[in-house]
Amino acid sequence: MSIIYDPLHDCKMVGALRAMHGISDCMVIIHGRNGCHCGALLLQTLGSEQNSVRVLTSGLKASDEVYSGEERLASAIRLADQTFRPKAVSVLNCSAPVIMGEDVEGLEMLLEGEIGAELIAMDVGGPEGPAWLGYEEALSRLVPRMQASEDEPRQGINLLGFKADDFCSRSDLSEMRRMLQDQNLSVNSILCGSSYEEMQRAPQAELNVLLGGDGLECAKAMQEEFGTPYISVPYPYGLKKSIKFIELIAGALEKEVDSQVLVREKERIKRTVENAHMFIQGIYSTPVAVVGESGRAFDLAEFLSDELGMDVKLLAISSCNFATQEKINTVDPHYQTLMIEPDRWEMNQALKAARVSLIFGSTFEKRIASKLQASLVRVSYPVLDHISLSGLPFAGFSGIAPICESIINSILNRNKEEVSA
């Protein structure tokens, strides 16, 4: 086994950041050195809504590694509380302070009552694990903060595994809400894509719904704490997965699916297909690769293969979750080769061997796509060199047209002269 590893995924800190930053009135403090803060700030600034980035540093310096940075961190927490008046302050304790043994949980107790915001601190040192574990742990850390009200009836669902900095995620969420609303199903809380108060109301939901299997630890904890049942649904890419998304949720709530709505949606998609059927015929059997996180990439590969007829030569899972193993065990996979959290160099070799025309991936696949003269459709985290302002989703019934547009345009707009033989 190789020692060197050029990762497709980040460390625990960024997983936790993605969860906590999704809470719209939560400030995140990176208790670490400059580089960790800079990286976190950039990922959020380039990958999400630019005017709602809420990432601060504790200002940890080299001398603090000798004399402790707890005092500095306490100042940062007070400053965040006074300057931004957030509902929550999340302290992410990075590698250096974790190794130094900084007592952030003690600090949490010390500042209790002094600051207006809820303080949520966690150790997220780089050596402690990958980003997806940080995301899972962060979501679990929210459970003790949730408040169940016995006086109010439970209704609606919680969506778990939402990541506000995924490409098109807000538009995807609006589409999922619309699809559910059309079936008279309401959304109670989004983890993490709600305000802190909405997050606290999560126990009022009838059901926890895990998007692509993300958020399992939190769902289990909520089941134990509040008795909230949970199911896992596919990330709704394409027609089939969108229907399954609705059917699974409705089924778990013992509600009938309004089939008339589905008929109307199918009719709408049929018109989309008609409007570009020649090109959709044209991309049939195209060799492609998908690089992305487990919670989305398996479902995207299935949509591309099963509904658009593309030939998924390679599926590279950049970051796992607790459901990955189950998905690997699928009897009839929609891909030819599967790589789990591969080394980038090895993945690039596999991409080269697969001779694909299109790569569905992240910003970091730009160079290999260019080298292989393949088109790159940016869909996986992190997308830092492409923006989405139009509100068009990639998920759900309404996502089919935009995703087809992206695929077809990525081929049509190539200058043939730039692509050598």
Binding site: L46, L79, I99, F364
Partner: protein
Amino acid sequence: MDPEEQDLVSRDEAPILETMRSIYSAVPMHHLGAIHGKIAGAMIVANAIVDSLPLIHGPVGCAFQRKLNPFTLSSTFYDSPCTNLNNVDVVYGAEEKLGKAIVEAYERYSPRLIIVITTCTTDLIGDDINAVVQKAKEKVGCGVIYSTGDFVGKSRPVGIQDSLYALADQMICREDVDRNEGSVNLINSPTQRNALKCREMASLLLQMGIKINKICFDQTTTRDMMDLAAADLNITGYRMSWAELMKKKMNVEYCKITGWDRYNKKKDPEMISPYGIAGSCRVLEEIARIMGREGEADSVIKKNRAAAESRLETLSRELKGVRVAVPVGFSLNLLKDIGVDVAALIYRTQTLTHGVTDRAIQEIERANLKLAEIYGFHPQLLVNPTPEEELETFRNRQIDLVMAPAKIAHFYNKEGIRTVDVNDFSQTKLNVGFLPSIDLCIVFREAMGRVRVRSPLLDLMEFDSGINNLSPHWARVALSFHHLRSRKFKQGSYYHFQGLAGVALNEHNI
């Protein structure tokens, strides 16, 4: 004697590359909202040496996040292998892992140079990196160096300075060097990688009979870096610890073209800027003196100066009487060359307080006002003005053109004032020589002839009244950042920090 023909510099860049850089210019990096950290600086160096490979000795996050290049966000670092440290390594050490990783990295990527970059994790656990690197070197067919961030004290940017110092200390400085007598190295910043702006300077030196040994950084290889040791003189843009080391260890002379040392000797403000016709003549004469070529230099400088002045006379005719507002920091020499009237000087001291003493801040003000007087300018000085004060002064002084970066141009444009963004010029053209004055003249002429922007959409949104290039939210983020980072920070002096007509921050002034 064209350096391009001698393969010393690459060809011109496509304009889109500048646009790709500038699209990120409003992202508040560079000490505004964040500091890069040493790994990013070391990655810059690894990226600027085309056949080298960074090897990050740390956990995955240190490798994944550092793919983002905070110095130039349009350039991603695609290869960033790491040693993938886990908690077991933290307890038991990761020296063996690093040794194997160096060998593996060599076998997999076939680089000419491996730069081992340590992280906070490895710095804290105390791995003996030097011992590992020395041992691993015997097993690979390439150079291996390591950078910890500890070699250069507070020389900034630490990561860049430290890796270059490591390269000089661990590889370049050696005994068996064939000297290239009578030659110099022209060293640009590895963040810019645009040696094109050295073209004219190289050509002038060649005319004086001074050979050009290397121009860095521009498609620079490990071999090129090793060959730096052959020259008699390193000419750098700013203070570089590694060039000082080369002087100490290899007797390669060192001349940095910017800095206040020359001014401090006689308090002569004309000694501040190495740019423009006057500044360039002075620097060229100084280099000629070091290289023993004063005789040849005299005629070369006179001939090229006369040609440039003749062209400028024609080109600058329509700029006569144009009244401009200029940030303190931009070379007044160049503005004198192009014949504009500097009617307002904007001095923003807030960012300076992090690295410069109060006395130095006052000295900068005095020197600039004195230089303005020498050049016949009578500017009104505005120190940390509010937006209203600034606009009122511009109206009273009948300012035609404000030197301002694109990110705040809309503020002036809506008031009917034209702006000129010289960031591209500074990045790609500003250097010692006579052509930059001509190029700047063209930039100003184009700005004066450009159609006025009347209704910028950016005006729809609210910007902070103090930090005009940031929204109120981001201004608070930046304010908090500075508060947490700086002992000297005073909230009262923060007003208008990096705001209107602000000097773009870069590695030269942070």
